[in-house]
C-alpha cells in the first residue's frame, strides 16, 4: 500500500460551465484541458464500467457519489477497450484502492489514458445546477491550461454541442468481430455496434448466442451475410436525430421481420424507424437505481440508465406504424419517460435502459431471454 503522490501535489484545476458558473478544485487523472457535455451519474458503484461505456463519449461525467476509486481498477470490469468520458468530476478520489481484483489506481489509469479530471469540487452543487439548468457544455482546465483564466469560458462556448452530434461511428468497431456462444450455440445474432458495451454480447453469449458485432456503418447486406436469427442494435452516444443510417438499416430488418432487439440508442433508433420523434431530456437519466415499470405485468424493475435523449411515443394508446401496431412497453416511474417499445405484430422490441447492467442491477436480464424466445418463435 503506497499513497498516491499525485494527490498530495494539489495541482489546482477549474471547471467552467457554459453558463458561466465555475468550480475550483484539484487536478485528477491527467493534467490539461478537456471539453464535453456536463452530465451527472448517480451510481454509487461501477465507476469503471461508467468510464468505459462508449455512450459517454464526449461527455464530462460528474459522479454524485463522493468517494470514487476505492476499489481501484481491474482488467475484468471495463465495458470497452478504453475510457470514453471526455472528463471526470469527483469529490473525494481514493488515495489507496482496496480490492482483491485491483491492479492499479484509478488516478493512474485516468492519467495513463489522458483523461482530464477534477476533484474536490462541490459535486452536489454542480449536480443541482445541471438539474435546474439542464445538461450543458463544460470545460476542465488544469496545469498549463489554467493560467489563461479569462478565456476559459470562451473556449467552453466554442466546444461542439451534443444536440445534433453524430458520434456512433467514432466509438464503434471498424471491423466485424465474433463473440462466441458459451456452451452450445443455439442462435446467431448480428449486433450493430453503435457504441456497444462488452457485457451485452456476453449476456447473449451466456444464452447460447453467437454474436457477430458489426460496425455502425454495416449495410443490410452485411447484416444478412451472417445469416442471423436475430438482429441487435446497441447503445451508443450522440443525438438519435442524426442516426439516419442505423434507422434505415433497422427498417430493412423490420421489413424482413427478423427478430429484433434494441438497447438505449437502439431503442431510439426503433422509435425513429417506427416514425416517432426523439427529444433531448433536460438532464437525462444516468444512474443504476431507476424504477421502470413493465406496463404489461405491472412489475417494477430497478434498472441502469444512461440516456440524454428519449423517444416521443404516446403512452396512452397503441400506435399504428408501417410495421404494424406498436406500444410503449416500459416507462420510467420517476418521470413517465418512454423506456421501452414493442411491436405487437412482429418480433421486435427495445428498451431505453440497460438490461445488461454493468454497472447496475440485474433485474432486467429477462429481456435477453425474451429476445431468445422471439428467435425461438421465429424458428418454430
Amino acid at each position: 500500500m503506497t499513497t498516491s503522490t499525485r494527490g498530495t501535489e494539489k495541482v489546482p484545476a477549474v471547471l467552467v460551465l457554459e453558463d458561466g458558473r465555475s468550480f475550483r478544485g484539484r487536478a485528477y487523472g491527467a493534467v490539461g484541458e478537456t471539453f464535453g457535455e456536463a452530465v451527472f451519474s448517480t451510481g454509487m458503484t461501477g465507476y469503471q464500467e461508467t468510464l468505459t461505456d462508449p455512450s459517454y463519449h464526449r461527455q464530462v461525467v460528474v459522479m454524485t457519489a463522493p468517494h470514487i476509486g476505492n476499489t481501484g481498477v481491474n482488467d475484468e470490469d471495463p465495458e470497452s477497450k478504453k475510457i470514453w468520458v471526455s472528463g471526470y468530476v469527483v469529490r473525494d478520489p481514493a488515495r489507496v484502492p482496496s480490492n482483491w481484483r485491483s491492479v492499479r489506481t484509478l488516478d493512474d489509469e485516468l492519467a495513463a489514458q489522458g483523461v482530464v479530471g477534477i476533484s474536490g469540487v462541490d459535486t452536489r452543487a454542480l449536480t443541482r445546477h445541471l438539474r435546474e439548468r439542464g445538461a450543458m457544455r463544460v470545460g476542465i482546465f488544469s496545469g498549463e491550461a489554467l493560467p489563461d483564466e479569462g478565456t476559459l469560458l470562451e473556449k467552453v462556448r466554442q466546444a461542439p454541442e451534443m444536440k445534433g452530434a453524430n458520434l456512433s461511428a467514432e466509438v464503434a468497431t471498424q471491423e466485424t468481430y465474433v463473440v462466441p456462444a458459451i456452451g452450445t450455440k443455439k442462435f446467431t445474432v448480428a449486433a450493430i455496434d453503435l457504441g456497444i458495451k462488452g457485457m451485452t454480447p456476453h449476456r447473449m453469449a451466456e444464452r447460447g448466442i453467437e454474436v457477430h458485432v458489426l460496425p455502425a456503418t454495416a449495410t443490410i447486406e452485411d447484416v444478412y451475410a451472417v445469416d442471423p436469427d436475430g438482429v441487435f442494435f446497441s447503445n451508443g452516444p450522440g443525438d438519435p436525430a442524426t442516426a439516419d443510417h442505423p434507422v434505415a438499416l433497422m427498417q430493412g430488418v423490420l421489413e424482413r421481420k427478423t427478430p429484433l432487439f434494441g438497447i438505449c440508442f437502439g431503442n431510439q433508433i426503433l422509435g425513429r424507424a417506427l416514425g416517432f420523434g426523439t427529444f433531448k431530456l433536460k438532464y437525462g437519466h444516468r444512474g443504476i437505481n431507476q424504477p421502470v415499470q413493465d406496463r404489461v405485468t405491472g412489475k417494477v424493475e430497478v434498472t441502469a440508465h444512461n440516456h440524454g435523449f428519449a423517444v416521443d411515443a404516446p403512452l396512452d394508446k397503441v400506435s399504428d406504424t408501417p410495421y404494424g401496431r406498436a406500444e410503449v412497453s416500459h416507462v420510467c416511474l420517476n418521470d413517465n419517460v418512454v423506456e421501452g417499445l414493442q411491436l405487437l405484430d412482429q418480433p421486435a422490441f427495445s428498451v431505453q435502459y440497460h438490461p445488461e447492467a454493468a454497472a447496475g442491477p440485474h433485474d432486467a436480464a429477462y429481456l435477453f431471454d425474451r429476445f431468445v424466445s422471439l428467435m425461438e418463435g421465429q424458428r418454430a
Binding site: N70, S98, L333, A357, A358
Partner: protein
C-alpha cells in the same frame, strides 16, 4: 392495487422496554407504522409496555394498551378489541416471538386475526438456522452465488463436542437460536470457552438449540436492507459496510453507508443473493435485513443471517437514506405496492426505487462498560452497546469524525497531542476489538505504524485504514502550518476536524479557533438528505453540515424554535428525553412556531424527518449547535433554543450557548447552575426553610474523611455534575471511603466529591412539576418501591403514591413550589425527596425534563413535556389550562380517589454482560443507575399494577411453586409477613439455614437448602444454585449483605439471571410482589386502554 378493504382494524405490537439489542429504533418504526395505518383509516390497536415511547401516546393509536407484551395479555386485548389483523414485524424480536407463540397456541385462529406483514412460515425460515441454511442452499442452486458458513446444529453438549470435530477444530462461533440481538453468542477458542458459551446458549435458546460455525473472523462484513411488496417488486434500500470486520456484532461495530469497498460486480452479487433470499424465504411484504461476510482475499460470499422484520439496521438505513422503511412496510402490509407509494422526500417519484447517496453515513456505538466494571469489555458477537450516534458528511473522514464526537464520550474524538505510546503495544491492543479501538489505531498510526501493520493487527479494510492515515496527515498539516489560514482551516474542516481538535493541535483555545475561522469565513453549509443524490428536488428539509460550497437551507418567515435532542442513548439518558423533545416539537408546531430539531441519534423519533419542520442530523457539541443557530438565524427569525428537554447533553451546553449570544428559552442557564451547584442549591433550600440530608463537598481525601465523620456513616458519595448516578456509592465506613476515592482516582481533582448522609429506610419520592414563575402545576408524585439509596432510575415506583396521605402531598407541593421559585424554573422541574421518620428531606432538584416525564404524563393523562415547551416560550399555566392542554382545575397531586395506579419498573441488562471468566455480573441495585429501560403497569389497584409491571419487565410473577428466601439480617423482620403470605398462596419456601431459622421461629415452614459455598451434600443434595439451574425454583428473594465489591448471594443472583427466574433484591419489592401475586391468584386481571383510563380520569376531574 390499492389498499385492502377487508381489514378495518389492526393490532400493532411494540417492542416493550428498552434493552440492549432492542431499543428506541422500534419506537421510531412503530410510531411511523401506527401513524400510517391510522391515516389509512384503520382502527389501530397498540400494545406496548414501555411508557417512554411516542408510539404509546394516546393520539398515535386509537386504543393504546400499556400492558405486558406476553401472549396472555395480548390475547386479552384481542378478545376485547377483536382486530382483523396483527402486524408483528415492527416491534422487534419481542413482537415477532409473541405473535408466533400466539399463532402456535391457536389464539389468532380462534379470534380470526390475520397475521399481516409476515407469515409464520417465512418467519421460521428466516429465523431458524437449519431452515435458513436450506434457503441459502436453494438460492445458491438458483443463482450460483451465496453460501452459508459451514456449520453444525447442536441440541446438547455432546452435539457441541462432535460439532467442533466436524468443523475441523477451534475457533468456532456459537450462536443460540431465536435470541435477540445475538444474546448468548460468542467465539470459542478452546473447549473450556466452548462449554461455557454453548452451555449458556443452549439455556438461552427457547428451542435449546445452538449453531456451531466455521470462523470467518476478519472477513469484511456487509448488510443489505431490502423491501418487497406483494407483486414481488424488491428494492435494496441501503447497503451498509462494517468498519470493524467480522467478529464484532453489527450493533457494536462502527458501520458505514453506503458500502465503500465493493465493485459493482461484487455489490450486484450481494444484491442478487439478497433478493433471491427474500423471495425464497417468502417475506410477502415488508422489510428484511440480510448480513453477509465477504472474504477479502477472494471475494467468497457467505450469508450470515437475515431478520424477516424491521430491525435496528432498518432504522439506521431509514435515517441514512431518507427512505422510511417502517412507514412503507406498514403501507405494504395493508395491500399497497411500492410503485403506488410516493417517496416522501421528492413527493414526485415513487418508493419503488433504490436510494442513492451523495454523502457518507457513519454510525458509532456507545457503550456503558463503566457501569459494569466487572464486565468483560471485549466486543464479540453478542451486542453490548447501549446506544449509538450517527453522522453524515460529504466524505468518510468528515462523517467519521462527526460521529465520534457525537458519541459525547470523553476521548471518543481522535487526539493528536501528547505521546501516543509504544507502537507495538498499541498494535497489540488494537488486535482485540473493544470500545474505542479506532482511537487506539489512530495512536498506533501516530506512533509510526504502517498501513500494513494496522491491517495485520485489525483486519480493518485498507481503504478505511488509509482514511485514518489521511486524517492523521491533515492533523500533521494543521500542526505544521505557519498560521491558521483559510486553506488549512477549510482542509481540516473538510475532513471533519472540530474547532476543539484544531485548538488542541495548535495549543489554542477552542473559541479562539472559532473566532479565527469565522473571521476567515470558513463556515459549514447544509446539504439535504434526499434519497436521490440531487437528481430530483427535495421537499423535506433533512439537513447535515458539510464544509462544501453551496447551502440548501431555505429562508423562512415564521419564528423558529430550535430543540436540542439528547444524543446517543446511554444508561441514565435514554428514550425518555427524546420523548420530551418530540412532544415539544409537536406542541410548538401547533402553537405556530417553525420547529427545528437537532440530534444525532438514529434510533429516535426525533430524528424522523416527519417529526419537526426541519431536522439537522448533527452532533450536539457547542460548535455544531452554534453553526446551526447561525444558519437558522440567517434563514429567518429564531425565537430561541430549548435545552431543558434533552437531558444533560443540551443542558450542559446552555451556559456556553448563552455566552455566545444564543437566546435560551425556559429556565435560564444561571438557574440551571443554581440547582446543579450544591452550595448554591443549599442556600435556596435554606431560604425556603427546607431540610436536606446533611452533606458536604470534598476537594480532597482529608476533606472527605472529615465531612463523612461529621455526617455519620453510612454516607452516599458521588462526583458532582453527573447523570444517572455515575460513580455513586453508599459507603459504610472510613476504609471504604478511602477505597472509593482510590477507585475514582483523578475524579476528585476535576470534580469535587459530594458526600450526603445516607437515609436508611427512607421512602424516596420523585416529583415532576411545571412552574411558570407564578403558578405551580404538580405533574405527579411517585413513591419508590425500593428504599432511598437505590437510584431512582432503577427503582420501581407507584403513581399516585400508595402510602402518602393528603398532608404529605401538601408538604411536597409547598416544597416543590419553593424550590421552583427559588431556582427560577420556567418549565419542568424534577425533585427527589426522601421521607425518613416524619421529615421530608430534599435530595436533589433537576430543572429539566426528567426520565419520569413520559411515565407521569401517561399515568395522569396530561402532556407535561408539551406544556413545558409552551411555558418555555412564555405561555402560563393558566393559559394552558384554558386551552385544555392542562386540566381546568387540579393537578397530578389531586388525582381522584379512584384514579388508576401506575407502576413503573426498571429493566436491567444483567444478562448481557459477563466478567473476564465468563461469569454473570451481579444484579444488586445501588445508587448508580444501570437500567436500560422501563415498563409501566397500570390498573385500578396496586397489586395488579405491580404484577403487570413485573410481567412486562421480566416475565410474569409465579403464582405458585417454590420460592427461595435469603435475606440480610436487617431485612429479616420485614420479611416475615410477606413470607407468610407466600406460604398462604401455596408456595413452598426454600431458605438457607439462617433465614429458615427465623422463619421457623415465626411459625413459617421452610425447607433448608445448601448454600453454594457448602457444596453438594453427602447424599447428592443440591445447592441452591444447582436447584436454580435445574429450574426447580420459581421465585428468588435475595437481599444482599456485606459491603465489599463481592456481595454474598452473587452466585444465586447470577444464576437467577441465567435462568430468567424472577429475583427480588429488596424486601420492599417482595412486599409489592406478594400483593401482585395475590392480585393474580384472585384471577381476572383485565386490560384497559390508556384512552379509557384518560376518559375515566377526565370524567372524574370534571
Amino acid at each position: 392495487m390499492p389498499k385492502r378493504t377487508d381489514i378495518q382494524s389492526v393490532l400493532v405490537i411494540g417492542s416493550g422496554p428498552i434493552v440492549i439489542g432492542q431499543a428506541a429504533e422500534f419506537d421510531y418504526s412503530g410510531t411511523q407504522a401506527c401513524r400510517v395505518l391510522k391515516s389509512e383509516g384503520l382502527r389501530v390497536i397498540l400494545v406496548n409496555s414501555n411508557p417512554a415511547t411516542i408510539m404509546t401516546d394516546p393520539e398515535i393509536a386509537d386504543a393504546t394498551y400499556v400492558e405486558p407484551i406476553t401472549p396472555e395479555f395480548v390475547e386479552k386485548i384481542i378478545a376485547k378489541e377483536r382486530p382483523d389483523a396483527l402486524l408483528p414485524t415492527l416491534g422487534g424480536q419481542t413482537a415477532l416471538n409473541t405473535a408466533i407463540s400466539m399463532h402456535e397456541q391457536g389464539v389468532l385462529d380462534k379470534y380470526g386475526v390475520e397475521l399481516i406483514g409476515a407469515n409464520v412460515e417465512a418467519i421460521n425460515k428466516g429465523e431458524d438456522r437449519d431452515l435458513f441454511k436450506e434457503v441459502v442452499e436453494e438460492v445458491r442452486k438458483k443463482i450460483g452465488h451465496g453460501e452459508s458458513a459451514r456449520s453444525y446444529i447442536c441440541h446438547s453438549m455432546d452435539d457441541v463436542m462432535k460439532g467442533v470435530e466436524e468443523l475441523g477444530g477451534y475457533p468456532v462461533v456459537v450462536r443460540p437460536s431465536f435470541t435477540m440481538g445475538g444474546a448468548g453468542s460468542g467465539f470459542a477458542h478452546n473447549e473450556e470457552e466452548l462449554r461455557r458459551i454453548a452451555g449458556q446458549g443452549l439455556t438461552l435458546s427457547p428451542t435449546t438449540e445452538v449453531l456451531l460455525e466455521e470462523s470467518i473472523l476478519g472477513w469484511k462484513e456487509y448488510e443489505l436492507e431490502l423491501m418487497r411488496d406483494k407483486n414481488d417488486n424488491v428494492v435494496v434500500v441501503c447497503s451498509i459496510e462494517n468498519f470493524d470486520p467480522m467478529g464484532v456484532h453489527t450493533g457494536d461495530s462502527i458501520t458505514v453507508a453506503p458500502a465503500m469497498t465493493l465493485t459493482d460486480r461484487e455489490y450486484q452479487i450481494l444484491r442478487d443473493v439478497g433478493i433471491a433470499i427474500i423471495r425464497e424465504v417468502g417475506v410477502d411484504t415488508g422489510g428484511c435485513n440480510i448480513q453477509f461476510a465477504v472474504n477479502p482475499v477472494d471475494g467468497r460470499v457467505i450469508v450470515i443471517e437475515m431478520n424477516p422484520r424491521v430491525s435496528r439496521s432498518s432504522a439506521l438505513a431509514s435515517k441514512a437514506t431518507g427512505f422510511p422503511i417502517a412507514k412503507i412496510a406498514a403501507r405494504l402490509a395493508v395491500g399497497y405496492t411500492l410503485d403506488e407509494i410516493p417517496n416522501d422526500i421528492t413527493e414526485k417519484t415513487p418508493a419503488s426505487f433504490e436510494p442513492t447517496l451523495d454523502y457518507v453515513v457513519v454510525k458509532v456505538p456507545r457503550f456503558a462498560f463503566e457501569k459494569f466494571p466487572a464486565a468483560d469489555a471485549t466486543l464479540t458477537t453478542t451486542m453490548k452497546s447501549v446506544g449509538e450516534a450517527m453522522a453524515i458528511g460529504r466524505n468518510f473522514t468528515e462523517a467519521m469524525q462527526k460521529a465520534l464526537r457525537s458519541t459525547e464520550k470523553k476521548g471518543s474524538s481522535f487526539t493528536f497531542t501528547g505521546d501516543p505510546g509504544d507502537k507495538a503495544e498499541l498494535l497489540a491492543k488494537a488486535q482485540i476489538p473493544t470500545d474505542g479501538r479506532i482511537n487506539t489505531v489512530m495512536q498506533a498510526i501516530r506512533a509510526g505504524a504502517t498501513p500494513q501493520e494496522v491491517f495485520d493487527a485489525t483486519k480493518i479494510d485498507p481503504w478505511f485504514v488509509d482514511q485514518l492515515f489521511l486524517i492523521k496527515e491533515i492533523a500533521d498539516e494543521i500542526a505544521a502550518a505557519d498560521k491558521l489560514g483559510p486553506e488549512i482551516l477549510a482542509e481540516a474542516k473538510r475532513h471533519g476536524f472540530s474547532d476543539a481538535q484544531i485548538a488542541g493541535i495548535r495549543e489554542l483555545r477552542e473559541d479562539v479557533v472559532r473566532e479565527v475561522r469565522h473571521a476567515l469565513g470558513v463556515r459549514p453549509v447544509y446539504k439535504t438528505v434526499d434519497t436521490c443524490a440531487a437528481e430530483f428536488a427535495a421537499k423535506t428539509p433533512y439537513f447535515y453540515s458539510s464544509y462544501d460550497e453551496e447551502t440548501e437551507v431555505a429562508p423562512r418567515e415564521k419564528p423558529a424554535v430550535i430543540i436540542l435532542g439528547s444524543g446517543p442513548n446511554r444508561i441514565g439518558q435514554g428514550i425518555e428525553f427524546d420523548y420530551s423533545c418530540v412532544h415539544a416539537s409537536f406542541a410548538l408546531s401547533d402553537a405556530g412556531y417553525e420547529t427545528v430539531m437537532v440530534n444525532c441519534n438514529p434510533e429516535t423519533v426525533s430524528t424522523d424527518y416527519d417529526t419537526s419542520d426541519r431536522l439537522y442530523f448533527e452532533p450536539l457539541t457547542l460548535e455544531d449547535v452554534l453553526e446551526i443557530v447561525h444558519a437558522e438565524q440567517a434563514a429567518g427569525p429564531v425565537a430561541g433554543v430549548v435545552v431543558q428537554l434533552g437531558g444533560q447533553t443540551p443542558l450542559g451546553l446552555a451556559q456556553a450557548l448563552k455566552d455566545n449570544g444564543v437566546p435560551i428559552v425556559g429556565t435560564s442557564p444561571e438557574a440551571i447552575d443554581l440547582a446543579e451547584e450544591r452550595g448554591a442549591f443549599g442556600r435556596v433550600l435554606t431560604e425556603a426553610g427546607l431540610p436536606a440530608p446533611k452533606y458536604g463537598t470534598a476537594f480532597s481525601y482529608d476533606d472527605a474523611k472529615k465531612i463523612a465523620a461529621e455526617i455519620g456513616y453510612p454516607v452516599m458519595v458521588r462526583p458532582s455534575y453527573v447523570l444517572g448516578g455515575r460513580g455513586m456509592e453508599i459507603v459504610y465506613d472510613e476504609p471504604s471511603l478511602g477505597e472509593y476515592l482510590e477507585r475514582h482516582a483523578g475524579l476528585i481533582d476535576q470534580h469535587p466529591v459530594l458526600i450526603d448522609r445516607f437515609l436508611d429506610d427512607a421512602i424516596e419520592i420523585d416529583v415532576d412539576a411545571l412552574y411558570d414563575g407564578q403558578e405551580l402545576y404538580l405533574g405527579g408524585v411517585m413513591e419508590h418501591i425500593e428504599e432511598a439509596g437505590i437510584h431512582s432510575g432503577d427503582s420501581a415506583c407507584a403513581l399516585p403514591p400508595i402510602t402518602l396521605g393528603g398532608f404529605d402531598i401538601k408538604r411536597l407541593r409547598a416544597s416543590t413550589e419553593a424550590i421552583a421559585k427559588g431556582v427560577g424554573v420556567r418549565g419542568l422541574i424534577n425533585i427527589q425527596f426522601a421521607m425518613a421518620g416524619d421529615i421530608l428531606y430534599v435530595l436533589e432538584a433537576n430543572p429539566r425534563a426528567s426520565r419520569t416525564v413520559p411515565f407521569t404524563s401517561k399515568a395522569t393523562a396530561v402532556p407535561l413535556a408539551k406544556a413545558a415547551a409552551r411555558i418555555s416560550l412564555g405561555a402560563t399555566i393558566a393559559e394552558l389550562r384554558a386551552e385544555g392542554m392542562l386540566p381546568k382545575t387540579g393537578d397530578g397531586g389531586t388525582l381522584p380517589m379512584d384514579a388508576p395506579i401506575s407502576v413503573k419498573e426498571a429493566v436491567m441488562p444483567w444478562s448481557r454482560f459477563r466478567d473476564m471468566q465468563g461469569r454473570g455480573v451481579d444484579t444488586v441495585l445501588g445508587p448508580e443507575m444501570r437500567s436500560t429501560g422501563e415498563v409501566m403497569g397500570i390498573d385500578s389497584v396496586f397489586g395488579t399494577a405491580y404484577a403487570k409491571s413485573q410481567a412486562g419487565a421480566y416475565g410474569a410473577l409465579p403464582t405458585k411453586g417454590r420460592a427461595f428466601v435469603s435475606v440480610a439480617n436487617r431485612d429479616k423482620r420485614a420479611m416475615i409477613f410477606p413470607a407468610r403470605e407466600l406460604v398462604q398462596h401455596g408456595f413452598e419456601l426454600l431458605a438457607t439455614s439462617g433465614t429458615a431459622e427465623v422463619l421457623k421461629r415465626n411459625g413459617i415452614n421452610a425447607t433448608v437448602v445448601r448454600k453454594q459455598s457448602e457444596g453438594e451434600g453427602p447424599n447428592g443434595e443440591k445447592t441452591i444454585v444447582q436447584l436454580i439451574h435445574d429450574g426447580e425454583v420459581d421465585l428468588i428473594v435475595n437481599t444482599p449483605y456485606g459491603t465489599g465489591g463481592r456481595l454474598d448471594g452473587y452466585d444465586i443472583r447470577t444464576a437467577a439471571v441465567a435462568r430468567s427466574v424472577p429475583c427480588l433484591t429488596t424486601v420492599q419489592a417482595l412486599a409489592a410482589a406478594v400483593q401482585g401475586i395475590e392480585a393474580m391468584s384472585r384471577g381476572e386481571v383485565g386490560v384497559r386502554s390508556l384512552q379509557e383510563h384518560a376518559e375515566h380520569l377526565t370524567a372524574a376531574r370534571d
